[in-house]
């Protein structure tokens, strides 16, 4: 092997979009490949876990891990990669804050398994068969990873050095991060490698955002024809821009769709969902309780809207069902 810096890429609970965003570097990927050795990238190249196990500790310059951690296999792999890598970068919303798979934290594991293997309208499973972690067949044993009860962001499992946000991250951010890595100009550990200012700052519609926002009712993006030049919030469309980190160049807004929050909060905000909730609710144009409730009811799914990419990384993190908890030192599923 050459002396070039070694880069690893791995995926956990994710859709593959992050992998694709690496390919989206287009011609620039040739420069990257010129400058580094990719020593592990299961989605694109033929490496095995044993190859990683054989590497020296901290011998990988940096590993970019995308996806949330949901299974014991993912957990084992990220621990292994942590051991072998000098720098771990959580790549994309799911690794950063839990992402779309993290919305499963609104449900107990049993609710999820029962729906998927028994109750879903497209399922026929009279024996109520479910995946087993071990199954003997023809004299050998086949195994599956354990399905954890909680979806986790990467830093809830291993130590993470940097974060590249986005669903998926833009090629520009990836390129800048690789450059910083190669030139040794990375910022302090723990930094999110994107601008630390709300999306509104780079939004082309910024000038049309009213000083005093007053929302008479909320509209869902598919139900209205949004004016392409006016602030979406001023049109009553839930836009996560004020509570979301910029750096995406307002791609969704330029496509006349609201920001859905995939870059997570800025460093000054702990809980992105609470922050947008605060901002939107305060702008409701009513003082009477019944009118307030009526206007707020036009947001049908506050959790799914405000925590679309970050429920595991939020302050509450997970469903807190009273039924599954009687307190104290005993453990409950």
């Amino acid at each position: 092997m050459s002396d070039k810096p070694k880069i690893g890429l791995y995926w956990c609970a994710s859709c593959g979009g992050c992998e694709e965003s690496v390919v989206d570097l287009a011609e620039d990927i040739l420069d990257v490949v010129e400058a580094v050795d990719i020593i592990f990238w299961p989605v694109a190249m033929d490496f095995k876990r044993a190859d990683v196990e054989a590497m020296d500790d901290r011998s990988i310059t940096a590993t970019l891990i995308n996806g949330a951690v949901r299974t014991s296999e993912q957990e084992e792999m990220v621990r292994l990669l942590r051991r072998k890598s000098a720098v771990i970068i959580a790549y994309g919303s799911c690794a950063h804050l839990g992402g779309i798979p993290g919305m499963a934290n609104q449900f107990d594991r049993e609710q999820i398994l029962r729906y998927v293997y028994e109750d879903a309208p497209t399922v026929v499973n009279d024996e109520k068969t479910r995946p087993a972690t071990a199954h003997r067949f023809n004299g050998s044993e086949a195994t599956l990873p354990v399905f954890h009860a909680t979806v986790r962001a990467l830093d809830q499992v291993i130590d993470v050095d940097y974060y590249i946000p986005g669903c998926a991250p833009t090629p520009a951010l990836l390129k800048a991060a690789v450059e910083a890595l190669l030139t040794g100009t990375l910022p302090p550990k723990g930094t999110v490698l994107a601008p630390d200012i709300a999306l509104c700052d780079e939004c082309p519609r910024k000038e049309s955002k009213p000083e005093d926002l007053r929302i008479e009712r909320f509209h869902r993006p598919h139900a209205v024809m949004a004016d392409p030049d006016t602030c979406l919030l001023a049109q009553g469309i839930v836009c996560m821009g004020p509570a979301t980190r910029g750096g995406c160049e307002a791609l969704c807004v330029k496509g006349n769709m609201p920001c859905t929050g995939c870059f997570g909060p800025t460093s000054r905000v702990r809980d992105q969902g609470a922050k947008i909730l605060s901002s939107l609710a305060a702008s409701v144009a009513a003082d009477e309780e019944a009118d307030i409730i009526s206007i707020l009811s036009t947001i049908p799914d506050p959790i799914g809207t405000f925590y679309r990419y970050g429920l595991p990384g939020s302050l509450l993190r997970k469903l807190l069902s009273q039924s599954s908890w009687t307190g104290g030192t005993s453990h409950h599923a």
Binding site: V146, H148, D287, L320, G327, G328, T329
Partner: protein, 174 residues
């Protein structure tokens, strides 16, 4: 649900803990009045004074709960009486959306309460706190810190499946 429950914070019998955010101009003054009037009420509340109920960021509420509060109480001026004209209306709007969100996350609605208490209503501070303590006593502990620990037990279990895990852990904390 009134049996004695051990929690992570204390070996004492469990008693509800309420974090209360009271506005400077009305409800905090009312709590002061309750104090100087020597009214007796349940000692379970930690009061945090804020200048206005409109200053209460929903993050404060979530943080209080996630750090171990069993309930959060917000006290502000009656509608029309806000020292800053409309802060309490903002609090009311936020309260309703946050309440829906908390219910969706499995938190009983009785754990989050908003009350308008004017500076002269010391007795209302007393009755509201007593009533909320009583309700939380019925509900039992929320104890999110202990739940977190319970959630992470599955990580401990999976760690045992990783060969030479201690070395991994060591490397992870260099």
């Amino acid at each position: 649900m009134n049996e004695t429950i051990e929690t992570t914070q204390t070996a004492q019998p469990w008693r509800p803990r309420i974090v209360a955010f009271f506005c400077n101009w009305c409800t905090y003054t009312a709590a002061d009045l309750a104090g100087v009037s020597r009214m007796k009420y349940a000692p379970n509340t930690r009061i945090i004074r804020v200048m206005c109920s409109g200053r209460i960021d929903p993050q404060f509420v979530l943080e209080a709960l996630s750090e171990g509060a069993d309930g959060v109480l917000i006290g502000g001026c009656h509608p029309g009486d806000c020292h800053y004209a409309e802060g309490n209306y903002k609090a009311l709007r936020r309260f309703h959306l946050l309440r829906r969100m908390l219910i969706g996350m499995g938190i009983d609605e009785k754990r989050f309460r908003l009350e308008w208490i004017s500076a002269s209503e010391g007795d209302k501070v007393k009755t509201v706190i007593n009533d909320m303590v009583e309700q939380l006593q019925q509900l039992g502990p929320l104890d999110i810190p202990a739940r977190r620990k319970a959630w992470d037990v599955e990580l401990e279990e999976a760690k045992a499946q990783v060969p030479r895990y201690e070395e991994f852990e060591e490397a992870a904390h260099v």
